[in-house]
Point group: C2
Chain length 528, copies 2
Amino acid sequence: METFVKDEIDEFNMLKISVDNRKVGESETADDNCQKNMVENHEKVPLEDTPFSFLKSLIPMMLTDGLEEGRKRNNKVIEFVHPKELKKRLDWMEISGEGTEDSKLLDACADIIKYSVKTGHPRFCNQLFGGMDEYSLAGSWLTEVLNTSQYTYEVAPVFTIMENSIYKKLLSFVGFENGEGIFCPGGSVANIYALNIARYKRHPEIKTKGMAALEKPLVLFTSEKCHFSIKKAAILLGIGTDYVYTIKTDARGCMIPEELNKRIEEAYDNGLEPFFVNATAGTTVRGAYDPIDKIADVCKKHRLWLHVDGAWGGSALMSRTYRHYLKGIDRSDSVTWDPHKMMGAPLQCAVILTRHKDVLKQCNSACAAYLFQQDKCYDVSYDTGDMSIQCSRKVDVLKLWMLWKAKGDTGFEKDIDNAFHCSRYLAQKLKRTPGFRLLDEPQCTNVCFWYIPHSLRDQPETEEWWQKLHRVAPAIKKKMMEIGSMMIGYQPDGKYVNFFRMIVTNLDTTEEDMDFLVDEISRLGKDL
Amino acid sequence: METFVKDEIDEFNMLKISVDNRKVGESETADDNCQKNMVENHEKVPLEDTPFSFLKSLIPMMLTDGLEEGRKRNNKVIEFVHPKELKKRLDWMEISGEGTEDSKLLDACADIIKYSVKTGHPRFCNQLFGGMDEYSLAGSWLTEVLNTSQYTYEVAPVFTIMENSIYKKLLSFVGFENGEGIFCPGGSVANIYALNIARYKRHPEIKTKGMAALEKPLVLFTSEKCHFSIKKAAILLGIGTDYVYTIKTDARGCMIPEELNKRIEEAYDNGLEPFFVNATAGTTVRGAYDPIDKIADVCKKHRLWLHVDGAWGGSALMSRTYRHYLKGIDRSDSVTWDPHKMMGAPLQCAVILTRHKDVLKQCNSACAAYLFQQDKCYDVSYDTGDMSIQCSRKVDVLKLWMLWKAKGDTGFEKDIDNAFHCSRYLAQKLKRTPGFRLLDEPQCTNVCFWYIPHSLRDQPETEEWWQKLHRVAPAIKKKMMEIGSMMIGYQPDGKYVNFFRMIVTNLDTTEEDMDFLVDEISRLGKDL
């Protein structure tokens, strides 16, 4: 291995020096017996002498092809290949008896980067996550280096304190004066937690006696436009989808509180036991905000647990301009919020928050004696693992902390405001551009619209016309995937045939990206 | 920013050249319409001109202090500080309105590394995970760079194919000819899946009608020494802990099949409906393997679902010498296996495998129209998201694939064999060393033992004597934490007072590490 040229200042050596000046590894605790077997203040290995030659080979590739090239607007978002063909091209995939040499693994990594979707690209608008923040990535990488689990202070001292600090911050944005939270592997799992603690709070006997102890089936309420994880959670918890009562929404996709009230009364009439209402803050497709404040009134009247699924739209809480969409959230019992969505943290970064302090532990604890020993040498109230339905729990806090610390509240607000602004800019532009039809003014950053190709313009909008329009979005999406110029989602929704759902979640998005989207869809769809 | 010295070959430039020679970004698909708006074969940004100056500053620190220093035997495993004091020292933690400059963030990162436990250190033996494999870490970092979700082929083409390839491999090690699997955020969640699909398979109507549809309460069976996640899963699924029937174990901690049979008959007599048996392959504390083959006979007789929780001990399947511990696993219905434990992948990397093809989707599907559109331009059978209880699902496969591909099956077998060998070496050594008492010969790599200080040797073993011994392990652990020389766990278990649980999970462990452990505990405990 060649060494760095010492008499020249290169970037890496400069960095190394700044690191070397820190007294890492030096003990600050005064214990005379310390480190009898350990060399104090040992000579530190300089960077160029560290091993990890494979990792060091991969770093440049990740920084250039993975990160920098992966977010350049002129590069492809996706190098689309059909599954069977891709399998053929990734002919290095199979693992055999013998190991593989580094150069072949690096070739494989180049292929992995090439054929993976560039989700950090400003024109990746296909899902409710995307973008790439350098600080957050740094937090992710450091998390992997330190590879620990969140269950005890003993093995996660820094991250235990960091989680508590971030929960406090998130709780304050929600408006819960007290309460607690826990990071979950995704918003769906956060919703599972919400259902579980709500059920426990109502019927603590379920923990030991199960659903068999109940006289009446439990029923929960959610809008017909809610995320499908509510249904999945109801299956998992043994509630059953028949007892997920869906509530009608208005023309904008928001739950109608009067309908909620009606359905609750209907459930009572059916001999069921209502216990839980889910209000969605930012629906997946249309970005609709359910009217939380009014829903809270209904919940108060019937004494039901109010959960706000703000996985997607919760980040508006950080903006003084847009947080009004969540008015009343401080009256809820629990909140799901995914910083891996609009806040731009890498996957996975989701949290469940609740105003009910201690309910997570009361509900989920199993008191494992091997992990949560009460005779440990420190204050074991810092061991939070028994609050979780998991045992090992990945550290998801550092990437969020890093991101947030780097930006500050004001930087975050500016970014969220920009995302909302871009969606409004796009909506206005679509209204002015021939061939586009907006479904509705945006609430969250979702902009839903049809593209009407020339062949369908100025024609009577018959059933057949709508069926033709239904095939337009998939056809344009296919072209888009093959060309790789951008990725946005489409879907039907209720009475509406397939339409595009543009979402702004990449915090680097600009007005020009919105202009590009309009031009590109026009170009791809013009001959349909 | 200073640039690299061009006429000297330094490590980084050598690497850069090898990367530049790959034609990354060049399209292989022949589509004349492609990339009209995109510059073909653009000039690539050289590494030194990429942005990400913060990330590039952090890399040397991660490689030296995080990785290399973090695993040196002469360095501390932990810089222990009590929670309140640590909060004071981490005085940069709070996030304010304004952002933070890079240099301050780097200082914070240095503290984060300093006060975090070095889980890659060969003397971190505190949990069922640990060690640090360079290839696996490379896989983790690349995963973070590519930041995507596993739900659809569309956004995870490479990783969908990679998961299928790894599932096939894992299934074959279990001995399932067919079947399927899914990566989960930890073994506890894998156990939740197992319970859920077993319940669904028996009572598919539960999906819609919930547990309210059942005439009799469901009951499951597991050994008294099983992992606490089985209980947590029973709470979550609405089964209740009263219906978790625990089965007695023999002196070595293994479930007694005759006792299982008795308890199943007892449940029938109590008017309950048995449906699920959990056999543990490698219990958390003592590393006991339940006799799967005999348990399978009992399950067959009563037609019950047999799940094997091999989160910890499942990796023995990779060793021809030790896989006999799991004899009969090919007769089970589902298996939990955590590659983030003995296989050395970073957290989180866990999988649930089942012989019942399609059950995951049948049980968990909610058919979200916005995500699993059936009119997509590719074969949508590759979209696997509806099998999951999650929506976004982090990519956990790459770190495992990278690790496995680098080692090959034989390399892995050698490493697993070494871990088992070290545990046997330690057990033999403890038997020969005055002051140590082994609980039992190891099964998995857990070695459980008491250290008996001089003050307690050669004395009648009265109740009082055992109570004194109970306080020895915590006292030694406290010293160990303060000095930072090593970390191993202790706990009581049933009739046994606090004892140490040494586990070998770091694949770099050597016989000398075992010698160190014995010397260090003797040294720390000699004056007790």
